[in-house]
């Protein structure tokens, strides 16, 4: 069919991160039990408080039911058929990058995340996580000069146990939900960020998650604390090889902002999404929550979700401090048989708290894309304000988009504003662009990135162009 064809099904461009690194890994046997939880904790040489935290979570998890309220359909997950710990066989985390297995460095090179001194990004510090383990963190010394701690969470447990004990589970309690409980029991690694009072983090921080093993679950845990008047911008990226079985990814991210602090958390999620028939791909069940504990604090979530077979994810803000601000900017693109149920929760507790929600859902192929958002205004949130905008774009006529906005207000004078729209890329719009010499795919991608502009503008500069390219790539070779 020539490119003049009508807007038809979209078939994704081959996923270019689908390779597997051949590296010896240490894995524990499949299955989950109290012994497995103890084994993980022992392997990581954890202090008693953390083992207790894990065991409590595990027992809570046993009592809980997998949630079924999302607009998602997938066969049941067999939790005994998953490996809960896998690590590349290199004993200790290396002090110097020269000692890291070159195969791992090569893997990250291939993913566009060079870690070596010469090639690494100039103004971004990176923590690279491979399967369950953080393998390298760049610019640690430079950050330490400013009092900023940026390291893997395992390392933080060893070096800064008092901070971990104080903050872990303080935003997302271990019994918060089914997947959070599971994560709390078996989490492997992730990043820890601590910005002390009054410090503006001198560079972008970024964690890159790479799943490599086929039968391993990925349970990372990220904790970011910004003390009074501190600020940080953090970005996470993720990819996985192509396997034709589904893999479970259940992460927990907790953010804490004290008085006048600000945390900007951006995600570019590109886990393997499965093939065009819906075979394989990551099941992404993630709990992300930020707590604006202090007055005038601010937490901003920006996400570009393009991967995963299933996405279940609601980055949220609890606005406790007076005049605190929560933001959520999201682009979720689904194609082929992907399913996404994503959105946010803005919980207004303190007076004059403000929140903004901008959600852009793009559904192509036979995919399904739902926005689910809750704006809750408590009795003390005098003068609270929320603005929500949820836009959906449909490409082709086989895709579905839904919007489920929930508003619960116990404050009669709160201002809550919700706008929603749905549009479809029309044949006439594409023809118009084509008739001016713009190729069909470029025309689609121009319209899609135009649709997402409000969100891309929120991404750190270095990554906005990346996100734009990523969307174009996901739709490439696709229309016609």
């Amino acid at each position: 069919m020539s490119s003049t064809a009508t807007v038809g099904d979209l078939v994704s461009q081959p996923y270019k991160y689908g390779f597997v690194t051949d590296i010896e890994t240490e894995k524990i046997p499949k299955g989950l039990s109290e012994d497995v939880v103890r084994l993980i904790s022992a392997k990581k040489e954890e202090p008693a408080f953390l083992l207790e935290f894990r065991l409590r979570a595990y027992r809570q998890w046993l009592q809980m039911q997998e949630p079924d309220w999302a607009a998602l359909g997938y066969p049941g997950i067999d939790y005994q058929d998953i490996i809960y710990y896998a690590a590349p066989k290199q004993q200790e985390k290396k002090a110097s990058l020269d000692e890291v297995d070159p195969k791992l460095l090569e893997t990250f090179d291939k993913l566009g995340i060079p870690l070596s001194e010469q090639k690494r990004l100039s103004n971004v510090a990176v923590d690279a996580v491979f399967d369950s383990v953080s393998i390298a963190t760049t610019y640690k010394e430079k950050l330490a000069e400013h009092g900023v701690i940026f390291c893997s969470i395992s390392e933080a447990v060893k070096e800064h146990p008092e901070l971990i004990e104080r903050y872990i589970g303080s935003v997302v309690p271990s019994n918060d939900n089914y997947f959070a409980a599971l994560n709390s029991a078996v989490f492997s690694d992730g990043s820890f960020v601590f910005i002390p009072k009054g410090v503006e983090c001198p560079m972008e921080l970024s964690t890159y998650f790479r799943i490599n093993s086929g039968d391993t679950g990925q349970f990372e845990r990220t904790l970011i604390v910004a003390e009074e008047a501190a600020s940080v911008s953090y970005l996470e990226g993720c990819t996985a090889p192509m396997f034709d079985t589904n893999q479970l990814h259940a992460a927990v991210v907790e953010l804490v902002a004290l008085d006048d602090a600000s945390i900007k958390y951006s995600t570019v999620q590109n886990w393997y999404a499965g093939d065009e028939n819906g075979k394989g791909g990551i099941y992404n069940f993630v709990t992300k929550r930020g707590q604006c504990r202090g007055a005038r604090s601010k937490i901003s979530w920006t996400q570009v979700e393009t991967g995963s077979a299933i996405t279940w994810k609601y980055p949220s803000c609890v606005l406790q401090g007076a005049d605190s601000v929560g933001e959520f900017y999201s682009v979720a693109l689904t194609n082929n048989k992907q399913q996404a149920d994503t959105g946010t929760k803005m919980v207004h507790v303190g007076p004059r708290t403000r929140s903004t929600i901008v959600s852009k859902g793009i559904s192509a192929g036979h995919s399904s894309n739902s926005y689910r958002g809750l704006v809750q205004i408590g009795p003390k949130a005098v003068g609270a304000k929320n603005y929500s905008q949820c836009d959906s774009m449909l490409i082709g006529d086989q895709a579905a988009a839904n919007t489920y906005p929930y508003i619960r207000s116990q404050q009669p004078d709160a201002a809550v504003e919700h706008e929603a729209s749905t549009c479809r890329i029309s044949e006439d719009q594409l023809f118009y662009l084509q008739s001016r010499g713009i190729g069909f795919e470029e025309a689609v991608s121009m319209m899609v990135s135009g649709f997402c502009r409000d969100v891309f503008n929120q991404l750190p500069m270095e990554f906005a162009a990346e996100a734009d390219k990523l969307l174009a790539l996901k739709l490439e070779g696709s229309v016609g």
Binding site: S435, G437, I438
Partner: protein, 269 residues
Amino acid sequence: MIRPDAPVLLEIRDLHASVDDQTILKGVNLTIRAGEIHAVMGRNGSGKSTLSKILAGHPAYTVTAGSVTYNGENLLELDPEIRARSGVFLSFQYPVEIPGVSNLEFLRVATNARRAHRGEEELDTFAFEDLVRERLAVVQMDPVFLDRSVNEGFSGGEKKRNEILQMALLEPLVAILDETDSGLDIDALRIVAGGVNQLASSDNATLLITHYQRLLDLITPDYVHVMAAGRILRTGGKELALELERTGYDWVDQELARLEGGRTPVEVG
């Protein structure tokens, strides 16, 4: 300007086309040489816009018979974007709105696509700013329209000016202007007509689709064609338009009846 020895830019031969199994064009013949200005007139629904969209390559229409040769090439084989890059331009009767896509960026990408095709250097944002400001003058358009989304919220007349701005940037060889005059106020009509005259040269050609003499007072056509029921029924000079102004289209029915009646019925068997 008619020059019998000028190269033929567009040659339409016995063009038949349909949409959703409904035949709309029933044998259009038209030859356009470099330097010429043609006007196509005709009743509502006679097939003028259909012809223009088929020339631009709209996917909804199927050509069932006939041929179109553009600059020696089979036009119908080319994708719409290739037609545009090689110099075919359609100013739409109803330009669509494209929310979210910046007009300036759109104009730049389009201009560069055409330039690349001509082997010219692509323009960066700064060089393009200069060019676009110069071409804005052709249609006396306010630069604020560059910062908006393509046609979004533009008034009818503003959309038409934006079309001619695109024409000024793309420098087509064959420009088809589908009712560019409708929706324009008196001053705008004069400005747009002035722009079209300014862009017309001995190397390119213009096909004006219009209902009104007032446009042809400002842009003098070399040929006037009357379209009816999917074909060109009559061709004349600029005086034909003046005659239509007096007589209307009543004669068309008789002419069509004569044509239909004179046709040998096709045996079905």
